[in-house]
């Protein structure tokens, strides 16, 4: 257990020194500024519009940015054989990928917290609105990343190139947000096979539409993520990590 924490903390340390991470932070500053500009153009409440737009852009930028860092980082270690030392010498080599997974999740939480703190302070100073519910949705973005990075870890153990894994992850991320609409659409199918197939797809793809907090903010809905959705997100992510660990341990050749 301690080894997972060690790897996770070192992952955060390494990534904070990475220029790619600095670039992600810079993009976050740009998108938050852009949200401010969009909120001025909006006909609705500018404070809520700023919160909603920012949350949406922060989610896309942070999740996809850290996800790319994670996949390229993991594959680079595979390429230059650094992970061979862990695999050969560690009693339980799968802890290495679990540690990396946890590390990138901590990095995402850090990035999101910094971004949301900036948005919150801007709301307070520019609009004089205390939009405390923004903080609740930081967790929401964290759960989305937990699920999608679990999928990424599984793809890492299956595919040998980062590009394939990344493209599939981005596709899963966007399709996952349409999950509920897809379920409603396919419920009209009459053929048993089509209905069964659509149900299988629905349960396999992470249901990220449960975590579309940016819309809730826009409509001034501060209920936050439900406990059941939160539990679903954690269970889905953990299942993916368990599958990834199993596949990693079953590799014939490292």
């Amino acid at each position: 257990m301690w080894s997972v924490l060690y790897i996770a903390l070192m992952t955060v340390k390494e990534e904070i020194r990475n220029k790619v991470f600095h670039l992600i932070l810079f993009i976050l500053v740009v998108v938050v500024s852009f949200s401010l500009y969009l909120s001025k153009l909006s006909v609705s409440n500018p404070a809520l519009a700023f919160g909603g737009f920012s949350l949406y852009f922060v989610k896309i930028t942070a999740v996809l940015g850290v996800l790319s860092s994670m996949l390229f980082g993991l594959y680079a270690e595979r390429e230059n054989k650094t992970y061979h030392l862990f695999v050969v010498q560690s009693h339980y080599p799968f802890l290495y990928i679990v540690g990396r997974f946890l590390g990138y999740n901590l990095l995402l939480l850090l990035t999101t917290t910094v971004s949301i703190a900036s948005v919150y302070l801007l709301e307070l100073t520019l609009f004089e609105v205390d939009l405390w519910s923004l903080w609740m949705y930081a967790l929401d973005i964290g759960v989305v990343f937990f699920m999608i990075s679990g999928v990424a870890l599984l793809f890492y153990t299956i595919f040998s190139t980062p590009i394939i894994s990344l493209v599939l992850c981005i596709a899963t991320f966007f399709v996952g947000h349409l999950s509920t609409s897809f379920y409603i659409f396919t419920s009209h199918y009459t053929a048993t096979v089509s209905r069964l197939f659509s149900k299988v797809v629905y349960f396999l793809i992470p249901n990220l539409s449960l975590f579309s907090s940016e819309l809730a903010i826009l409509h001034d809905n501060t209920n936050g993520v439900s406990l059941s959705a939160f539990a679903y997100g954690l269970s889905y992510g953990l299942t993916m990590v368990a599958f990834a660990s199993f596949v990693f341990c079953s590799w014939r050749d490292y």
Binding site: S3, T82, H84
Partner: protein, 236 residues
């Protein structure tokens, strides 16, 4: 006592046969050098010994068990060829990380860095270190859990004469500490100086397994290099 036992091992990658029906064993405290041309199968062989690759046929036993079993993993130290440690950590942080990962009770990070002679750069980013320093850091990582069996894949690759000298000194130090060692190398002079026994590989086969002196005298050669060249050119 036999530390490693390789029995009828073969490895096939698609159509290519990398290693063909190899058998040998390594005894405790022995230092074995594996030599051969590029593509002879040295890296494939050492990768199977440490459990990174699974043999297509045959079996590899380390301390009587599969090298992938959790009990054995803690007893093996491995340095891969062209070792590239994480560039954005410092040597001290990386050794501490390994102490944590390998669940070493008392982390002797500073002692290990002192031992391999890179204490003065312990807080420098690894990306700023020379190739030789990175190799020395690799040896420090190998020693973190104080393994009794050490496998080094091409430890001299890319090192300048000073780096090579220091690496040889470190391998001698490992021998003095009673470690069982397997290392592969192209540099026959270094193998001659360090190995108790050699395994000569050619196109996936073991063409010789025994003492260096016997290899040289059997081929009526003047040196290990001369004998090796005769062996791979088929002048025997």
């Amino acid at each position: 006592m036999r530390v490693a036992e390789i029995l009828g091992v073969s490895k096939v990658f698609g159509e290519k046969v990398a290693v063909k029906d190899i058998s040998f064993s390594v005894s405790e405290r022995e230092c074995v050098g594996v030599i051969g041309l590029n593509g002879a199968g040295k890296t494939t062989l050492v990768s199977m010994v440490v459990g990174l690759l699974s043999p297509t046929a045959g079996s590899v036993k380390v301390f009587g068990k599969s090298p992938r079993s959790p009990e054995v993993r803690g007893k093996i130290g491995y340095l891969p060829e062209l070792f590239a440690p994480p560039p954005r950590l410092t040597p001290f942080e990386l050794v501490r990380l390994f102490c944590g990962v390998l669940d070493v009770g008392r982390c002797r990070a500073e002692h290990l860095l002192e031992l391999v002679g890179i204490m003065d750069v312990k807080d420098k980013l690894i990306s700023k270190l020379s190739k030789g320093m990175k190799q020395r850091l690799g040896i420090a990582l190998v020693l973190v859990a104080d393994p009794s069996f050490v496998v080094l894949d091409e430890p001299f690759t890319g090192l300048d004469p000073l780096g090579r000298y220091e690496m040889k000194e470190m391998i001698r130090e490992l021998k003095n500490r009673g470690k069982t060692i397997i290392f592969s190398s192209h540099i026959l002079q270094d193998v001659d100086e360090l190995a108790d026994r050699i395994i000569v590989m050619d196109r996936g086969n073991v063409v010789y397994n025994g003492l260096i002196g016997d290899f040289v005298s059997t081929l009526s050669a003047e040196s290990l290099e001369d004998a090796f060249l005769k062996s791979v050119k088929g002048e025997v």
